[in-house]
Amino acid sequence: MIWRENLKIGIEEIDQQHQELFKRFNDFIEVVRSTDYSQEAKKNKITKTVDFLNEYVIVHFDAEEKIQQKHNYPHYEEHHQAHEDFKSDLANFKEEFEKQAYDEDLVQEFSGRILTWLINHVADEDQKIANHIGSGNNE
C-alpha cells in the first residue's frame, strides 16, 4: 500500500497513526505473500504483527473517535460501528490463526480483505471527517 499526501486528514496525530498503520500492514502483507519464509517463520512473524495491530487499532480508533466527538461529527455512530467490526474481524482472525497449524487460505483471505478495507477506510471514510471539520485536502 502506498501512502500519498492526499490521504492526510489534516490532524497530525491521526495522519501519523495512519502512516504507521500502512507501514505495519505493508510489513504484514510482505510476509503473507513471501515465498522465502518457512511456514513456522511466517506464523511467528504474522503472530507478532497481528498482536501489534490488535493493540494499535484500539489506540488509533479511540483517538479518531475522540476527534469526531469533539467536532460533533454527524456520522460518528456509523464510523464507530465500522471500527468495532474491524476490531472483531481482527480478533476473530487472531483466534482462528493461533488455533491451528499455518492455514494458507485463512491468511490470504484475511489479508486480501483487509487490504481493500483499510485503503477504502482511510481514502474515503476518514476523508469525510476532514471534510466535516474543514481540515483536509478536499475542502
Binding site: 500500500m1 502506498i2 505493508n26 502483507i29 510482505e30 503473507v32 505473500r33 494458507e104 487460505d105 490470504q108 483471505e109 484475511f110 489479508s111 486480501g112 480483505r113 487490504l115 481493500t116 478495507w117 485503503i119 477504502n120 481514502a123 474515503d124 476523508q127
Partner: protein
C-alpha cells in the same frame, strides 16, 4: 428495477470508490437489459435483502483483478488466488454497501449479504430475476460489468 433506477443507484457508488481508492475517473458504457448475466474470470455476487431484494453481480477480467490488487498492495501479483479474490470481493462489497445506503436513503430498508466470489472459466450464475440491468464500467485501462437484478419487495 429499470435502467435509469439501476444506474442512479449503482454508478455514484462505483465512482466514489474508484475516485477515492484508485484516483481514477470512470465512465459508463452502453447499458443493456438481458436475461443472462455477463460473467468473467472473477465474479462477485452480493445478495440484497429487505424491501428491495435480489442480487448484484460484478464481473472482472483476470487482468483487471490483478491490476487492481497490484495497485492496492504495490506488489507483483501474477495469479488469481485467495488474496486476490478476497480483495476484489471486498471491493464489490464496499460498492454494494454504498448502494444499500442509497436505497435506505430513498426509504427502502435493505441490507447486503457478504460477497461470494467465483473464479474461473465458463461460469454460469443464476440471478434471482431474469430482467438484468447490465452496466459496463470503463476505467483508465479496463472495463468490467455490473449486473443488477433487484425488485421492490
Amino acid at each position: 428495477m429499470n435502467k435509469a433506477q439501476a444506474i442512479k443507484l449503482v454508478f455514484p457508488a462505483v465512482e466514489r470508490v474508484f475516485n477515492s481508492m484508485f484516483q481514477e475517473e470512470i465512465e459508463q458504457g452502453t447499458v443493456k437489459i438481458e436475461e443472462d448475466a455477463i460473467t468473467d474470470q472473477v465474479t462477485v455476487s452480493i445478495g440484497v435483502t429487505g424491501e428491495v431484494q435480489g442480487n448484484i453481480l460484478f464481473s472482472f477480467s483476470k487482468e483487471m483483478s490483478l491490476d487492481l490488487v497490484e495497485e492496492m498492495s504495490m506488489m507483483e501479483v501474477n495469479e488469481i488466488d485467495k488474496f486476490v479474490t478476497s480483495a476484489i470481493g471486498e471491493l464489490a462489497n464496499i460498492i454494494s454497501g454504498h448502494t444499500a445506503t442509497a436505497l435506505n436513503d430513498e426509504g427502502y430498508q435493505c441490507d447486503i449479504v457478504p460477497p461470494q466470489v467465483i473464479h474461473g472459466d465458463n461460469q454460469f450464475i443464476s440471478m434471482e430475476y431474469n430482467e438484468i440491468v447490465i452496466i459496463p464500467i470503463i476505467t483508465d485501462n479496463h472495463q468490467f460489468e455490473i449486473n443488477i437484478a433487484l425488485q421492490n419487495n
